[in-house]
Amino acid sequence: MIVEAGHFALVLAFVLAVVQFAVPLIGTRTGDDRLMAVAAPVTIAGFALTALSFAALTMAYVQSDFSVVNVWENSHSLKPMLYKVTGVWGNHEGSMLLWVLILTFFGALVAWFGSNLPASLRANVLSVQGLVGAAFLLFVLATSNPFARIETPPFEGRDLNPILQDIGLAIHPPLLYLGYVGFSVCFSFAVAALIEGRIDAAWARWVRPWTLAAWVFLTGGIAMGSYWAYYELGWGGWWFWDPVENASFLPWLSGTALLHSAIVMEKRSALKIWTLLLAILTFSLSLLGTFLVRSGVLTSVHAFATDPTRGLFILFILMLFIGGSLSLFALRASSLTQGGLFQPISREGALVLNNLFLTTATATVLIGTLYPLLVEAVTGDKISVGAPFFNMTFVPLALPLLIAVPFGPLLAWKRGDLYAVTQRLYAALGGALLTVLIALFFVDGMGVLAAFGVGVATWLVLGALTDLALKAGIGSVTTAVAWRRFRGLPRSVFGTALAHLGLGLTTLGIVAVTSLDVEEIAVMKPGDTLAVANYTLRFEEMTPFQGPNFTSDKARFTYINAWGRELGEVISSKRLYTARQMPTTEAGIVTRGLSQLYVSIGDPTADGGIVVRAWWKPLVLLIWLGGLVMMIGGTVSLLDRRLRVGAPAARKAKPKVLTPAETPAQ
């Protein structure tokens, strides 16, 4: 009964989405306020119905109702409760339902907080949002119905794929979807602006919080996904340049570009057309990502049950939205007015440079990801584009951008002085050069390129700190004044500095792990030892263990430091999930500071030992901590008074914080 109610609610949500698309659009065309006013309540009702539908499916999972095909295929009565709930989106149908739920959620947020928007803009935005929602609700209802029943319900379910039975599933997909789908709001705003044929700095101010929020979630989703793959797959890798990873990285890159170009548009009303295009492209890449992940057209190590026929439906949606929005863009963009002018060396210039690099990098990753499909379509050859390609193209593109980052926030708007800015960055530059030398001469196994990488990372971190210090006037005014100024800095300044600092930390982690990680592989019997970097692993014993829905063999190791002291235990295990007869490897991980010792075990060998693979991963945690700092930066920026959602729109009296160069003598 509840299941049918959920299904029915979803059908109603689809009907409401069609209403949400059509009625407000007619309203804005005819100038009828009453029709435009329909948008908000319908959007909120659509969200409520989708939420109800999602709750119904969750209920079926919690109660292990195996008369529902989806529950039977992906759940088991013995599965821990957490995984019963998260299993709702651990499969194709449920995951698409979560996608739609988040889409309607963002629509409802616009409806709730958009009361300060001009009525016609709000109506148009919600109308576009409604069309996206209708397309995907139709997709779920027509091809991926999670509420289908079985005539004779089986007694027990087939269990969820064991790799997904992890806390990662509770966090990663929702965060990722909040990011992917969050960009739909930017897309709707862009298309609405094109429909209206009008765009101004206020538009950028309304769009920025949505971009920031989506970006924060996407950053979190990618970082979480990377860490999850790292500890769950047992191969010690944190990024494989796999198509599914690229699918999430592409909207992140172009979303980052959007975030920066929207600043120029808001502050200087320049780059309007470009910002619109980026907003469209970013969500298009999110849709492309959804298509790549769900259709399985590309071989991926992260591919779960995929279905090409459903993929075709998404491809159709993809072409409808990308083609439609780009056609509209081509027709209307020329009618939009051009904005303010600026010198090449200026804050705007720096942000344009940022966009140039980020979009080029996006294009490179996109080409590498889709090239196998293209080649197969044209010549029939099957090729794969892997890490070597991306390392060769993406890294050289990213490095100059990273070096340029600290200059950007210090340059003045309109016309900047590169020489003066460089002078102010002398301390950061000195610090970076010093770390290069230290890395080169005092760290074993550090190559020239890696040392350079460490220097770039330090440069980013110190550059971000310099930015804050200079804006507070530390060094040029008394400490008390500087402290007062520091506290008075707008939150967006802190946000920028934190995000750039996080980028530096992630870079440092990547460089350290790539250049200094140590991998050892050996066959071990109880009592054997294996040296891994400065630690020694001693294999103690194998013990059987019975989990709720799996059996496992736990290998217990003791790890010993260079001075022979036993520091503790690492347990790595092989599990066999009984319902699916599927084995998994659970890596044993010990965190030492920011570094990790990572142990995974393989199959037993003929002579009674087991294959053990162990890594020392120096500073590996920085990769994800950097992501976390970027998220915090984004959130702090989101809390800036200027961007506060629902704050009165037209307000100019923001106390301008002077940078020391601009400060008159005090």
């Binding site: 794929n161 190590v301 090449p344 590498g368 090729i383 584009v385 599927m582 393989g602 003929a606 693979r613």
Partner: protein, 145 residues
């Protein structure tokens, strides 16, 4: 500089950058991609020594032999032709006989394929697309469900 000149400089710089990036991309696409072969295709393929390729197919029944230490040998088959593969390391959890597999590496002396990675799957029903297509092309595809 006049405004026009300035604009041209900026556009010129951006163009030069884009050309550099496309050049790099094209070069990398030529150098850093690897072709996929099924065992039958490998017989006739013209490969340069040391060229990295991907080899896919089914793990031949009864072919998995664990050797010294971490060495393991198995064979990849499309049911007609079979290629021996040698690999050192831990095999993926779902590596089983008569299951689809994709390996990456080079063809070594004596025609043995020396794999340095064996692509894992996350899902027991999942068949790498290339392998599925290859088997369909030779008419040996059987749907597993």
């Amino acid at each position: 500089m006049t405004r026009k000149q300035k604009r041209l400089t900026v556009i010129g710089g951006a163009m030069a950058f884009l050309m550099l990036a496309s050049g790099l991309t094209l070069y990398a696409l030529g150098q850093k991609t690897s072709y996929f072969y099924m065992p039958a295709e490998l017989q006739t393929a013209k490969l340069e020594p040391g060229q990295r390729i991907r080899l896919g197919g089914l793990v031949a029944a009864g072919s998995i032999v664990r050797g010294e230490g971490t060495q393991v040998a198995f064979a990849v088959t499309d049911q007609v032709h079979t290629v021996k593969v040698s690999y050192s390391g831990i095999l993926p959890d779902l590596f089983r006989e008569e299951q689809g597999v994709v390996t990456e590496g080079t063809v070594g002396p004596g025609g043995v394929f020396i794999a340095d990675s064996v692509l894992a799957k996350h899902d027991e029903n999942y068949m790498p697309k290339e392998v599925a297509d290859g088997l369909k092309a030779t008419g040996l595809w059987q749907h597993t469900e």
